[in-house]
Symmetry: C2
Subunit: 167 residues, 2 copies
DNA sequence: CATAAGATGCATTTACAATATATGTTATGG
DNA sequence: CCATAACATATATTGTAAATGCATCTTATG
């Protein structure tokens, strides 16, 4: 609510599907990463920028001014898939479980953005489009998605940290 | 509801943010185009495949088995931005307003997918991330998005039609 | 002029991202 | 050894907007 709420309260809101040519305002995208992925990347950035000590979830959430509950789940997930070492108990906290140079951004996005079916036809289980099989659009969208992920595959967390933190 | 509804009723549903490691099921993406864009592209495909006559909105909606209401708005919008010629009245219908080879897929997506802010920091008006300005992630995501759109920019509607329809 | 087509606005539903709450588990430091 | 501070986990609630439905208007033709 926080993030999009402000935007939506300020703006005249006419949904695209309920498009009103007298106002002609378009808003609200879908080609976006979830806030969950956003927070995952931000958490890694923060932790990567603080390599000398453990950081707590509260610290990260406070820094970004976001819900601690969200961050708890983000951190837990990143820990469970091997990006973070989490240490319970008093004086606990989290740190990177691998060198920043080995954390590939495309992999983080894939791990946090469960699937990236751009269109209905990407999921054969739910697809209903009768053109499937005789339609070249899907292939093109696949290529586009591959190009997108290809850029992210060329970057690691280390590449995204400030130069001063480079080894 | 139709499209995602089926998928969601069949599957065990545990939201990623409410991730449950005992089940461990991830679902529900966000890196996807809106159904609105989906329908826009499908409508263009159908109309492009029927170059010899006018087609009606009902015909398109029936073909794909989707809401006619949706399709009405999609067609109207595509008409208002110059992709379609719409003809009212009895014996009316729609046809392409330009040759299929001049309808660039990237432009259709941009016209129907209003903005594509992958992350909060893409919109300076609502951004709250304190790293902005000292964070290299945004630039990388920009590059990735550009790569995505670049692939779509290399394709026109004509490229997506069956070979038999090529001039 | 009845009818079949698109145009338009508004109301409703539903999904789910986001958030909140509650409680459990672990480990340390005094 | 236990109070406390940290992460772990499950469930419930909320808010937004995508998706859909419905009603009516406008246009043109056979």
């Amino acid at each position: 609510m926080e993030r999009r709420g402000r935007q939506q309260k300020d703006a005249l809101k006419i949904h695209l599907l309920n498009f009103d040519r007298t106002h002609g305002i378009h808003y609200d995208p879908r080609m976006q990463l979830t806030l969950y992925t956003d927070y995952s990347l931000r958490a890694l950035l923060y932790i990567g920028r603080t390599p000398d000590r453990l950081v707590t979830i509260s610290e990260i959430a406070d820094f970004y001014g976001v819900s601690r509950n969200h961050m708890v789940k983000v951190i837990h997930h990143l820990g469970s898939i091997g990006y973070l070492t989490t240490i319970r108990g008093k004086a606990g906290g989290v740190r990177l479980a691998r060198p920043a140079g080995e954390i590939r951004i495309s992999e983080v996005v894939q791990a946090t953005e469960p699937h990236m079916d751009l269109q209905e036809c990407f999921n054969p289980h739910t697809n209903t489009c009768p053109l499937t099989g005789d339609c070249r659009l899907k292939g093109v969208l696949y290529q586009a998605r591959a190009a997108f992920m290809g850029v992210l595959a060329g970057q690691t967390l280390a590449d995204l940290l400030p130069p001063s933190l480079e080894p």
